[in-house]
Amino acid sequence: MTLVLDDVAVGQQVPPLSFDVTATIVVLGAIASRDWRPMHHDHDFAVHHQGLKDIFLNTPNQAAWFERYLTDWTGPCGRLGRMTFRMKGSVFPGDTMVLEGTVTDVDVDDTGCGWAGLAVTLSVGGDVKTACSARIAIPTTADDNPWSRNGDQWNP
């Protein structure tokens, strides 16, 4: 199902996503994003050289988790325009991370493109590890497709 803008309202909650993080998930995310730094795959380095609990999720992989979370909600016609995030703590193997989102604004821009703004958090045990704000284009009608926009018709 593809979401349309009429289905979206300020204050709406996006269904939460809960996921048990393993070492494999951390390493897979780091290598998939071509992040070779050892704190994302080498337990000994993370613990004994960096004084951390374990290896931890890298930044581009967290961005990919936020993208997946948002497009699970919108369907394939949702087109991510912008995301800002701030990491406050690390996510380690053994953690259960929970992504939760709330719609903060809904608007149609001057070109007719529909947008939803969202505040999204990635938490572990109730502590926010990364806070994210995102702006995603959503079809205004069943026939609309934000992916067909380019040039001055696309203003993320």
Binding site: I31, S33, R34, P60, A64, R68, D72, L80, W147, N150
Partner: protein, 170 residues
């Protein structure tokens, strides 16, 4: 009035470290990225959906930096190769041994497609006066990384706010 040294002031707004990717955008990394976060979006798995919605396969927008990350090793290079070089330049220029990245913003323009060859450049946007935070004393800087495809179309911009600092007593 700014206390920035003239050599730093001269770098603001200047494209630096323009580099073209070492390999074209390819679907293996697209699928690896989706697998790593269990992203089942049919845009990346079902070519019929991709044809209908995006005019053919595309990469997940958040893979922007992936295409420009250097190989861990390649002939003629030794040691770890740094991705955000302007950040490290600022640390060195102001002799600040520590640094954090605060906000990270990604803005997505033209979709990235398999076969695209991405080029990027780093632009120092601003450097603050000296600030003291709980971490220590140093400076904030804002860096944009601009990405474009082989047609010269902008595909995305990443913005980083970095704070380089020296801990108290360091």
């Amino acid at each position: 009035m700014s206390d920035l040294p003239p050599d730093v002031e001269a770098l603001i707004g200047v494209r630096q470290y323009e580099e073209t990717a070492e390999f074209p955008v390819e679907r293996g990394y697209i699928w690896n990225t989706c697998a790593a976060v269990q992203n089942g979006n049919p845009l990346f798995w079902d070519d019929a959906v991709a044809d209908a919605v995006t005019g053919g396969p595309i990469a997940p927008p958040t893979t922007l930096s992936l295409w420009m990350r250097p190989h861990y090793w390649s002939p003629g290079h030794a040691g770890e190769r740094l991705a955000l070089r302007v950040h490290f330049d600022m640390k060195a220029r102001f002799d600040l041994p520590e640094a954090i990245i605060g906000d990270n913003t990604l803005v997505f323009y033209e979709p990235v497609r398999p076969g695209d060859v991405i080029t990027h450049a780093q632009v120092l946007r601003s450097v603050s006066d000296v600030k003291t935070l709980h971490l220590g004393t140093g400076r904030w800087w804002n860096i944009d990384v601009e990405y474009w495809n082989q047609q010269g179309e902008t595909v995305g911009v990443e913005s980083y706010a970095g704070f380089g600092y020296r801990k108290p007593g360091q």
